[in-house]
Amino acid sequence: MTFPLVPVQASEVARETDHLCIALVCASAIVCLIVFGPMFFFLFKYRNGHPADRSPVNLPQTKIEITWTVLPLLIFMCFYAWGARQYFNIERPPPGAMEIDVVGQQWMWKIQHPEGNREINELHVPAGRIIKLMMTSQDVIHDFYLPAFRTKQDVLPGRYTVQWFKADKIGSYHLFCSEYCGTSHAQMIGRIVVMSPADYQHWLANGEPGPTMVQSGERLFRELGCSGCHMGSTVVRAPPLQGVFGRPVPLNNGDVVMADEGYIRDSILLPAKQIVGGYTNDMPSYSGHLTEEQVMELIAYIKSLGNQSPTGTQ
């Protein structure tokens, strides 16, 4: 039997989180000394039958109370700030990330690389790159937990959540679902395989040949009739999609929203939720007609539209 005490640190975030943890362990040890030390001393010295000076003393009661209120409060605030700063780092992916899509479902993880490679319960990544995971669930709430990177994020149905990491150590690490999701929750596990960038390229190339996500998305865009309205139709007025991703969109009710992945997804599945300013609620919903992976492919395609003119024809 192995006897691990410290988890593997496969990223800078992991090391930083562990630093905070060690600091807390030290602080806790000190507190235990400060509390249990005197406690055991008093229990010993003042036990019944043991002669000792038990006469009442006039201690500066209020000063003592204020001291041991304010001092812990200050120390807590230090840990709060430290944890909060690290949290900002954990929750906000740095720029220049390689994006990989994750769909969780009872009880497996489906991963889609932009190049089109698909995996089940395994995620191959190159070391030294920032990996940003765009995640959603097909059914219930799951959680994509990577203990070696000290990061996890709930994976929700109907929404996208994001997680990022940058592996700096080659190896194979645990992937656990860590939000209870039903019968085989404990089997919804897998591996993150961190490879050297060269090996990763090999792995990509050796995967099943197939279209990239953008290509799959473009095919869906045509087959489902999206291009019919959104690519310069003369019959139907639909908002043009070139360059829409990442830009603000004014809505009919006066609000302005950012066109992120969630917005595009809602536009496809719940079009009535937010109508673009100047347009009417005419788009049909594709809810029930698309898998989550297909939605992600469409989003990849729409993201790729940038400022280019459309290549599709009606």
Binding site: C32, D53, R54, T69
Partner: protein, 552 residues
């Protein structure tokens, strides 16, 4: 002494030579117990009830720990395992911990401690016991017809749209039991406001009353939100409407907000009364007034209030915004301050005291130790970055068990032993009591400390099977659980034994202050022959005086 001992004699005294206790007066039949409005009898009825639910939940825990000895899921099926941890959590939280100290010790002791003849609403008290058991039986019925596999947290959309288990039945049981909590809370609040004996001002009240008052405020404010959440969940499940279902435009995270708005304050319901007990025990067995009375009293109220604004710390990885995380982490650190204040004050109470290491005192000291460790790990999980890593792992499981079992259950046992002579008129065997306290302390730490380590290593909770590298910790934990089990069974045996064979207890075996000790053990039906009058501060002990305790 705070009050005069019985002076007048009743007819009974003249013929029998003593005042009849509440066991005799009021009837001896089962019917007289089932229709009683005597708070003392109702306290005992609650004791039987919670023992019943505790036993079932403990058996579930035993099976869980047995299963987890090996990495493979080979003892029970995954589905059964999931139902087991749901039963364990649901019964332990709602049908054991929440009622434990308030409904057993609080019911029994509070009217005595404030010098009243009963609670403000005795019939509501009885109703709350019936509601409690109706809820409990419905929950057990849900188990009997197949069980629930959602965990005690019932997260949507799994619980509302995916599981085939008997969610609505179970939830109905919890809903009804919730009314029991609300009625108990209302009763305690009004009793403490309106029925205090002459002279018993707020700041002369023992801390046990302050703690139960703060607990009652949480009971009445938080429980209704749970009630509504469970109603919405049931409606969604029965009629398929989209309150929490994203496919129909609902938000599953809204469920979590509503659920934890109740369930976080609930954990303060599950610790404040224990803290109140510890304040009584430490003062009595160090023979000293509590250090910093006002601070300890206000700390109870502060914990209750701040406890209402920390619920989001259960949701740091749930998809809420970073700013939500910032707010709730800050609040979570703030709520730790009053708890720390209490620990420091209890420790200073020992200074220049005269310490008696009786069974209740051992439990009180165990509480302070284990609650401190559990509370310190609270500082870990309040740190956003750490919580991202350890939430939903065994680190959290260890954290809350240290507080709820190491804290509350230990406090409950301490209080039970302390007031046992008053409740039953008998002394429990002291040496067995001390031995059990020690066994429980050792067994508890062996069970739960390894869970911190394996949690940080990445061992996820609610896992039926697990990666082999965690096995050593699970084996330690299960070994500890068996020791802990022995530790719990021992008091069950010797406390029942003491009912018939224990030494008869005098009115005040511990020479304790407090009005409950100024009447007989056990007390008469109406508690006091004459209404006591309070003239002194609480805890007027003198450590310089050499005293003797009376042991069983």
């Amino acid at each position: 002494m705070n009050a005069t001992l019985p002076q007048t004699e009743t007819e009974f005294t003249r013929t029998r030579g003593r005042v009849p206790s509440y066991f005799e007066e009021g009837g001896r039949t089962v019917g007289s117990w089932l229709l009683t409005t005597d708070h003392k009898r109702i306290g005992i009825l609650y004791l039987y009830s919670i023992l019943f639910y505790f036993t079932i939940a403990a058996i579930a825990a035993a099976i869980i720990r047995l299963e987890l000895i090996t990495p493979q899921g080979d003892l029970v099926s995954a589905e059964t395992y999931n139902k087991l941890f749901t039963i364990h959590g649901t019964l332990m939280v709602w049908f054991f911990l929440i009622p434990s100290i308030p409904s057993v010790l609080g019911n029994f002791v509070i009217p005595l401690m404030i010098g009243a003849k009963d609670l403000a609403f005795p019939r509501l008290n009885l109703l709350s016991w019936y509601l409690f058991n109706i809820g409990g039986l419905i929950a057990l019925y849900a188990v009997a017809i197949g069980g629930v596999d959602t965990g005690w947290t019932f997260y949507t959309p799994y619980s509302s749209a995916f599981t085939n288990s008997h969610v609505v039945t179970m939830v109905a049981g919890v809903f009804i039991a919730g009314f029991s909590s609300i009625l108990t809370g209302v009763n305690f609040i009004v009793t403490i406001h309106k029925l205090r004996a002459p002279g018993l001002t707020w700041f002369k009240m023992p801390i046990f009353l302050w703690s139960n008052y703060a607990t009652s405020v949480i009971l009445v404010m938080a429980t209704p939100v749970l009630a509504m959440t469970l109603v919405l969940l049931s409606i969604e499940r029965i009629w398929g409407v989209g309150v929490f279902d994203p496919k129909l435009g609902g938000d599953p995270v809204l469920f979590q907000h509503l659920f934890w708005f109740y369930s976080h304050p609930a954990v303060y319901i599950m610790i404040l009364p224990g803290m109140g007990v510890v304040s009584e025990l430490v003062t009595c067995f160090a023979r000293k007034p509590i250090f910093g009375y006002h601070f300890v009293a206000f700390a109870s109220v502060a914990i209750a209030l701040i406890g209402f604004v920390v619920w989001g710390h259960h949701m740091f990885t749930a998809g809420t915004s970073i700013y939500s995380g910032l707010f709730f982490s800050l609040m979570s650190y703030l709520v730790a301050v009053p708890s720390a204040i209490k620990v420091f004050n209890w420790t200073m109470t020992l200074y220049r005291g005269r310490i008696f290491l009786t069974t209740p005192m051992l439990y009180a000291l165990g509480f302070i130790g284990l609650f401190t460790i559990g509370g310190l790990t609270g500082l870990f999980v309040a740190a956003l970055a750490i919580d991202v890593h350890v939430t939903d792992t065994y680190f959290i499981v260890a954290h809350f068990h240290y507080i709820m079992v190491g804290g509350m259950v230990t406090g409950f046992l301490g209080g039970l032993h302390y007031w046992w002579p008053k409740i039953t008129g008998r002394l429990y065997p002291e040496n067995l009591g001390r031995l059990s306290a020690l066994i429980i302390f050792i067994g508890f730490n062996l069970t739960f400390f390894p869970q911190y380590i394996m949690g940080y290593l990445g061992m996820v909770r609610r896992y039926h099977s697990y990666a082999p590298e965690f096995q050593i910790y699970h084996v330690m934990s299960s070994a500890g659980a068996s020791i802990l089990g022995v530790g719990y069974i021992l008091p069950l045996i010797y406390l029942i034994w003491s009912l018939k064979h224990g030494k008869k207890a005098p009115a005040n075996p511990w020479n304790a202050t407090g009005l409950e000790w100024q009447t007989t053990s056990p007390p008469p039906k109406h508690n006091f022959i004459e209404t006591p009058v309070v003239t002194r501060e609480p805890y007027q002990y003198s450590p310089e005086v050499e005293e003797r305790m009376i042991y069983g």
